[in-house]
Symmetry: C2
Subunit: 342 residues, 2 copies
């Protein structure tokens, strides 16, 4: 099977609803940040105080400007989508605009939306739903190269690091693709595999489908999930690691965190713990796996302490350490190219 | 959530269809072997040459003798269930007998069976389908004790070892339960968790639900799945290990195997590899995890070589090595009781 087909059309408009806390709009804000060329603007309902900083549209004007998709970029507080949000989605679907979301329920279960989509000839795209027919993992060696993001925990910058690394590799003339494994990543890439929603038996196979055989010199830059030291989610991390058979990996870390977020009884592993465990498990399908860098999220580190922190981790690991948002990823790319000469 | 409710009523009759190769009847043969007291007999259609060695019945006589469930104990060659098998299932369901199976498709999709079950007031029980509402794994320490079967590969005797160990513990006066993780095990136990069919994110949580808090001195004897060195399925093994938080484990091994079955490029790990990796990963949720024995499947070992083989593995590991079918599991129980005094 192949994931090469894009899940939804472009250009798209981001639907922000009427949220007031930017945390609930992370998906929409990420889409605007990472796919500016394909984004026509945002739809904000009355009372929405979060602003993605792009053109304000409504459904009618988005349609008039040629929107092919509407991407739900906000999460509803409490989980259930309010009726007036659904009404906007129905309006768009009736105009033939595809609706894209990563809800916990199928879009077709929202009142009236399936009928509206049928009337307008629009697709309903649930990015949390894995494709049918995922095979069992084979462990067969594939062509091309792969670099996987791994983390000391969930939410340590794996998606942003992978996006920045893929962008910077392309800018350096390297043939590279970002490979998404979570819903926001899939919306940004327009394709990918919602790895944590796959049935357990097929998890390694899903990772194999996500990064298939490719040409020599090509790099798949794979968004990671979870942590090998996470008591709830490590199985997802393990399956993604072994199925991806990465040549290289980057450890993503939040230097201000002391425990697994939401699991206060579990201490955060050290960078060297994560490096050693990743190599040990990853060697099953790629005996030459190695670490090529550390990605630090320093956004909350007090001014003046950042340089010392980066120097400390550089000394500790002997590897390039960057905050990809502040520093870019050139230091990691240099290491990757030194380890894997063209 | 709790799995304590039995999935289907007893006594049951085993449906063998019309197979001629005993390999296809392993589930039925296992049920007869491990639940003789609850088994009224077998239903064999014309031409069935596999014999489970119990009373031959048809649907009418099974009903007359009080059968509460019919368990499909044979796999159809080629996967699709033949129409004349389905006709027997419909006949039983119309008489109010629950139908139990571990098919790749829901029983309700078989022609006429849903209607027959509704007419007769019978349940259709798909043992491959996980229960709804499985939570994310918490890693919280639970009361009671747990011993998990792990393997060098799939199909190395994990289910039989767990069944024998639970039986022998009970016979020794120890409070113990077999905890099933696969379809045949679930049919034998009447309850359990089809762990490989759970969505990846909830795998550790499913293992936690399977072996909940229990009284002091109680042992859950947990059927294992896969292998930590399996390139297709290791994520299932990892999730089951970390969610089970076992105090002890038994390594199950086929001494005649050199490679992962069906994966000829992957050498079988050594016993010490499996012991070390299990401890390393299992320590996340149970820092005191330890190995208490080795279970060898010696059924195909040539006569006269068995004792030398067992002596070799005993010397290599310093642990009790048994073939649970030939030797019973007393040596492992002795070790368990020495390591964990009451």
């Amino acid at each position: 099977m192949s994931l090469s087909a894009k899940l939804f059309g472009t250009p798209f408009v981001v639907f922000m609803g009427d949220i007031s806390n930017p945390v609930y709009g992370k998906t929409g804000l990420g889409l605007v940040q990472w796919r500016p060329d394909d984004c026509l603007g945002q739809i904000r309902l009355a009372g929405c105080s979060v602003d993605a900083g792009v053109l304000d549209l409504d459904v009618a004007s988005a349609h008039a400007r040629g929107a092919r998709s509407l991407i739900v970029g906000s999460a509803a507080v409490g989980g259930r989508m309010p009726d007036h949000w659904v009404a906007s989605l129905c309006d768009a679907a009736r105009r033939g605009i595809d609706i894209v979301a990563g809800l916990h329920i199928p879009l077709s279960s929202l009142e009236g939306l399936a009928d509206a989509a049928q009337a307008g000839g629009a697709k309903l795209v649930d990015v949390r739903v894995p494709p049918a027919g995922i095979p069992v993992g084979t462990g067969r060696k594939r062509t091309g190269r792969r670099v996987l993001m791994v983390g000391t925990d969930c939410a340590t910058g794996k998606k942003y690091t992978a996006l920045a690394l893929a962008r910077d590799l392309k800018a350096a003339g390297v043939d590279a693709d970002f490979r998404a494994t979570g819903q926001t990543g899939i919306m940004i890439a327009g394709a990918g595999m919602p790895i944590d929603a796959v049935v357990a038996d097929f998890l390694t196979g899903a990772a194999e489908v996500l990064s298939p055989d490719h040409s020599e010199g090509h790099w798949d830059v794979i968004e990671g999930q979870g942590s090998l030291f996470h008591p709830g989610y490590l199985q997802v991390t393990v399956g993604l690691l072994v199925g991806s058979q990465p040549d290289a990996f980057v450890v993503c870390h939040d230097p201000l965190r002391s425990h697994i977020s939401g699991w206060p009884d579990y201490a955060l592993p050290s960078l060297s713990d994560v490096m050693a465990r990743t190599i040990e498990l990853g060697r099953l399908t790629n005996p030459a796996i190695r670490c090529v860098g550390i990605s630090l999220n320093t956004s909350k580190v007090p001014p003046g302490e950042r340089e010392a922190l980066i120097a400390k981790f550089t000394a500790e690991t002997g590897l390039p350490c960057v905050d990809p948002i502040r520093d870019g990823t050139q230091a990691i790319i240099d290491r990757l190219q030194a380890e894997f000469p063209a």
